[in-house]
Amino acid sequence: MPIETIIGAWVATGLTLFIFSFLYKDNPLFKLAENLYVGVSVGYTIVKTYDTVIVHLIWTPIVKNGEWALLIPVSIGMLMLTRYVPKAAWLSRYAFAFIVGVGSGLAIPRVISSYILKQIEDTVRPLLVMVPGEGLSFTWNLLNPASSLNTIIILIGVSSVLFYFFFSVEHTGLGKVVARTGILFLMIAFGAAFGYTVMARMSLLIGRLTDLIEFTDLSYGRPSLWLLGLTILTLVVMSRRASHKPEEE
């Protein structure tokens, strides 16, 4: 195994354990890893931006292909950076005005088409479905998302949740019933999201532990085991030192 991979395995394991040490409590090892993380990712972003934007999107097209029109976005970008020059900071407004203006303009028709028309189109369905051999009938199958029963449930769900977020109408009488239905639907959806989020977080943990298990291998020099011991030792020493000043969790 190449030496840089072995060193890499040790570094990666160490940093992973430093962050896991937050579970014990907020400590210097965690803070060190956290700041290292921010620093490295900012550095990474800057390098990538330089390589992609300056080299491939600006320099090559302008200098080699003579696409001088690209000086316009470059100058708009420069205007954005005037924000750091207090006297000229107002110039950055031009850049933001342009970006926000274009963004808003682009968003309006696309949002209407994708999130309003498309969603209405799929909700508005006939309640009776053609069943081969039976003709027009009401289907009760819950597992078929296109069945009549599910069409009604979806219609009720969409309408009641929409109604729940009405703010210029008092929720009384029939409105109260609809709003209550809406909140129940909302809670079920939140429950589904909850379940899925639990799944996601557990997957992340599984992924990290898989890597740690890989690094217990002898070919890496078992960094996981050694560093685990070392991290625990450091935490113990640190908490001993701070023990005269007891702190909760």
Binding site: D26, V38, L117, I120, V124, V129, F167, E249
Partner: protein, 424 residues
């Protein structure tokens, strides 16, 4: 950027020609040199596809008795005015029981022919290159094994168009909704608009009352975003209300921040609130304080405050990310009343299960509009309500009409339904 004025005029003229006199080309039969038993496709019409950038043409022809999977239709194309169909290039082939107008996505207002007619739109790409402004001859041939019936070639010139009529419903909706919002804001500027009371706000008062009874402080968080985010603005507005109450009850208020700018704004708001409550002497500048902008370090610090000071009530307003759970869990373990309000939908489930009251999504904005009475905020809320009301009506009426249409086998409900479809 090159603007072709000439092209614009011709395209409008052409469009009008298509709309006014459909089917003007001469319908004729064309007999192939080889003897055929298959009659050639009838009533062939070709025109520049409306509502496009000028790189396609559309063909319409009548259905025939031999329309079946076994028979094939071929689309033949050549540049200029070729008369010899043998010299034309086959650019597409498909079974004869496909490509009807009814299968296409055209809404009724742009549909060029009745639903039972055949339709084929020939586009640029995949071996075909149509140049806008160039004249082409195009026709359809029916093919069954060795038999081939070729229709009369028709002349057509693709042209770029200036309006996509298929999307006109989108434009109408955009204008309508834009008008509603502007109207509602204008109305909110002159008149008092009714907004229903948000139940969460009662819970806020209750929580502050309890904190006073217990003589413990109140913790208020404004979220992860800065002042350019609407949720932070809403959080700041609600902070004004909370601060007014804490001033009146003389309860301690703690507002740890993640963004220095937000802190500065919130200090002003808190000061103002204490002034309005008539207790400016009780105001402390350091009730708003900056901790750090790092997500987890901030969280750990706030958790520490919760454990040490044991606030009687915790407020979480604004935008939150993964740190939400860490905060609310610690808060719950100290026994505080917790009230949350966020539009970060991915964190809402956790707030609902760990807090006593949660303002869900737009409720946060509504609460802030309710408190601030700012015309633009209130008007937007009203405008959105009208928009939602309209959509609600469309959903119910649409379902009823679609069902009726299915029951009666009628087509007229489509006149309504097509308007609310994304048809491109």
């Amino acid at each position: 950027m090159r603007v072709e004025r000439q092209g614009w005029k011709t395209s409008v003229l052409l469009l009008m020609a298509v709309l006014i006199q459909p089917g003007s080309p001469v319908f004729a039969q064309y007999q192939d040199q080889t003897k055929t038993t298959l009659s050639p496709p009838q009533d062939i019409r070709a025109f520049d596809t409306p509502s496009d950038g000028g790189d396609s043409v559309t063909l319409i022809w009548a259905p025939a008795a031999y329309d079946s999977a076994a028979t094939k239709y071929q689309i033949l194309l050549s540049e200029g005015s070729a008369v010899d169909p043998a010299a034309m290039k086959v650019v597409a082939e498909f079974p004869a029981n496909q490509h009807y107008v009814r299968e296409s996505k055209w809404p009724w207002w742009t549909r060029p022919a009745a639903g039972d007619q055949h339709q084929f739109t020939l586009r640029n790409g995949r071996g075909v290159e149509l140049k806008s402004g160039t004249a082409y001859s195009i026709t359809v041939a029916a093919v069954l094994s060795d038999d081939r019936g070729i229709g009369m070639p028709v002349r057509v010139t693709p042209q770029p168009n200036w309006i996509n009529w298929n999307q006109i419903n989108n434009l109408v909706l955009a204008l309508l909704f834009g008008g509603i919002v502007l109207y509602a804001i204008g109305r909110a500027r002159t008149k008092e608009i009714f907004l229903r009371r948000i139940p969460g706000l009662d819970a806020v008062d209750e929580a502050i009352g309890r904190a006073t009874e217990l003589g413990k402080p109140i913790l208020y968080l404004t979220g992860a975003h800065d002042m350019s985010d609407p949720s932070t603005i809403a959080a700041a507005v609600i902070l004004g209300r909370v601060a007014k109450r804490t001033a009146a009850y003389e309860t301690e208020l703690l507002v740890p921040h993640r963004d220095p700018m937000t802190m500065a704004v919130c200090q002003e708001i808190t000061k103002q609130a204490y002034l309005e409550a008539g207790k400016p002497d009780l105001y402390k500048d350091d009730s708003n304080f900056f901790i750090t902008s790092d997500q987890f370090s901030y969280t750990a610090a706030v958790d520490g405050i919760m454990l040490r000071k044991k606030p009687a009530a915790n407020f979480f307003m604004g935008a939150y990310f993964a740190e939400a759970l860490l905060l609310t869990e610690t808060g719950a373990s100290t026994g505080a009343i917790q009230i949350a309000g966020t539009d970060s939908d991915h964190q809402l489930p956790f707030f609902v299960t760990t807090c006593d009251y949660t303002l869900i999504g737009e409720e946060l904005y509504a609460a802030s509009a309710y408190l601030s009475r700012e015309p633009v905020q209130v008007g937007t809320l009203l405008g959105q309500d009208i928009g939602k009301g309209l959509i609600l009506c469309i959903l119910v009426a649409g379902t009823a009409l679609a069902t009726l249409g299915a029951l009666l086998g009628a087509q007229w409900p489509q006149l309504f339904l097509d308007v609310f479809k994304d048809v491109k």
